[in-house]
């Protein structure tokens, strides 16, 4: 039986070049970069090298890169750190209804502890209108956090436009002698495919991880623009410019650096074009051959590797498992399979009914996806849908 992985948005395999690069940092070059001796300095050199690569990729300074354990930590640090640094009594935060849980959960917590949060709606295509950000701004707004590309439906938000808007607002505020609004984006799904030049985006904070870009798990980054009012939330040593205490994950950092280098390689652009072509074939193949299907999220303003489709009158988890029996790994938008019974908040935010949201599947392609694999999926899937619909009491 073939083994076909179509869940690259969940995680990616470590690229062989990345694996090769990090191997010496376990048994031989194991030093703690905080140590002054040669073992430590050897590790520090590798960390510095990786930090430079990341800084170059984001077009920022090296001291603006903070290594964390992943995007969840980066997002938590961004939010809690900004709140810790403010003197405003009831700070206001603007975000969207389609953020990842690592943004929504910290914000829900803060709401219970005296913060005011606005959750902006997106349109039925899953895209935010920047005007809604303008309209939501309040006197006490200190933070705007918007996901760059959504993890479930892959829709891309107008980050640079919002960045421009906040810049203008901050210019006004500066004249009035008021504090700035800080702009954060969760870019974890975007790094592989979109422009992440922080100057062009106009962001003050940006989060991402290694394991979505063919790097290792357990490593992430928070970009913090110099001068941003933010405080550390984890106390201990003086690592990461006093922003994030804890011994550095050297193999993780080295791997992340290598993964970033691969994204910047010439062949990467070709890979993206090939992935998009296969993704389009997948969407067309499914929507044309299977009745009662719909693509969730904008067709054009979406990541090139994402297809999220709803199948009427059946449940996502059942499709997922039947595909798995055939060797194909996908993900479901129905939260049933992810340990909660609530359907996806992202799909509901698009205006899908509970039924439609429960019957959806996310296919995410990657560098190793082949046309043969997509053909196999297109051959298998209609049979599975037919079988499940036959079983359903709703005809």
């Amino acid at each position: 039986m073939p083994k076909i992985y179509l869940d690259y948005a969940a995680t990616t395999p470590v690229a062989p070049q990345v694996f090769k690069t990090i191997q010496p940092y376990f048994c031989q070059k194991f030093g703690n970069p905080a140590s002054l001796h040669s073992f430590g300095q050897e590790a520090l050199k590798a960390v510095d090298f990786a930090r430079e690569k990341v800084a170059k990729f984001l077009n920022c300074q090296i001291q603006e890169i903070i290594f964390t354990s992943g995007t969840t930590e980066s997002n938590n640090l961004a939010i809690a750190g900004v709140i810790a640094a403010t003197s405003i009594k009831k700070p206001h935060i603007i975000t969207t209804k389609i953020e990842h849980h690592s943004i929504l959960e910290p914000l829900k917590y803060l709401e219970k502890h005296g913060c005011d949060v606005t959750y902006l709606s997106v349109d039925k295509e899953g895209v935010l209108n920047k005007k809604s950000v303008q309209q939501a701004l309040k006197e006490n707004t200190i933070l705007v956090s918007i996901i760059y590309a959504n993890n479930e439906i892959g829709t891309v938000q107008p980050i640079a436009e919002v960045g421009e808007l906040i810049k203008k607002e901050n210019e006004k505020r500066q004249k009035q002698g008021r504090g700035k609004i800080i702009f954060h984006t969760d870019a974890v799904q975007a790094i592989e495919y979109l422009n992440c030049n922080v100057q062009a985006l106009g962001v003050d904070l940006l989060s991402f991880s290694g394991h979505k870009i063919y790097g290792p798990k357990g490593i992430g980054v928070l970009y913090i623009k110099q001068g941003t009012k933010i405080k550390k939330i984890q106390r201990g040593g003086s690592q990461e410019y006093y922003m994030r205490a804890g011994t550095l994950n050297v193999p993780g950092i080295v791997g992340l650096g290598k993964a970033i280098e691969l994204i910047q390689s010439l062949s990467h652009k070709k890979e993206i074009i090939a992935i998009k072509k296969l993704r389009d074939k997948l969407i067309e193949g499914i929507t044309k051959t299977i009745s009662g299907t719909r693509l969730n999220g904008s067709k054009n303003l979406r990541l090139p590797n994402n297809a999220n489709l709803s199948f009427a009158k059946i449940e996502g988890e059942s499709i997922l498992l039947h595909l798995d029996f055939e060797g194909i790994a996908v993900s479901t938008g129905s939260a049933c399979a992810s340990g909660s019974l609530e359907p996806s908040h992202v799909l509901l935010a698009l205006g899908l009914s509970h039924e439609q949201a429960h019957g959806s599947i996310r296919f995410t392609l990657g560098r190793d996806t082949t046309e043969r694999e997509i053909n196999y999926l297109l051959k298998i899937l209609p049979k599975i849908i037919k079988k499940l619909r036959k079983m359903s009491p709703i005809k």
Partner: protein
């Protein structure tokens, strides 16, 4: 929380028993709603055995739902088939889940749904008979 299904759940989900409709069923019970994602419909045929007791002689299901909902539907048809109505009424959520080799806590309600569908089918039969 990560979900892990027992081998038995996967077997019943993969090859469900007694799937389909019964035309001229003596009782039909449907529970669940599209909001939570699961809809379960059971069809029963009732006959008298040699002792003169009413038994479920045939039972079939149609289900829209997750693997747990489908596996529960399948196993309850196995459990109920041949049972007297009195015995069938006593089938509980716990019996069903046990037969399946356990269920993830978050999916326990699926067993409850299956037991409710059977009760509803029996109630439907009894109601129809009165008329």
């Amino acid at each position: 929380m990560a979900i892990k299904y027992s081998q038995k759940v996967i077997e019943h989900f993969k090859n469900p028993h007694n799937m389909g409709q019964i035309k001229n069923a003596d009782g039909v019970g449907q529970v669940g709603n599209p909001m939570c994602g699961d809809i379960l419909r059971l069809y029963i045929k009732v006959k008298q055995n040699r002792k003169g007791q009413e038994i479920i002689s045939d039972i079939k299901f149609e289900t829209l739902g997750c693997a747990a909902a489908i596996a529960n539907s399948s196993i309850i048809t196995d459990i109920a088939k041949g049972k007297t109505l009195e015995e069938a009424k006593k089938i509980t959520q716990t019996n069903i889940a046990k037969e399946l080799g356990g269920l993830p806590p978050i999916k326990m309600h699926c067993s409850n749904l299956a037991a409710s569908a059977l009760s509803a089918a029996i109630a439907d039969f009894l109601k129809k008979r009165k008329i």
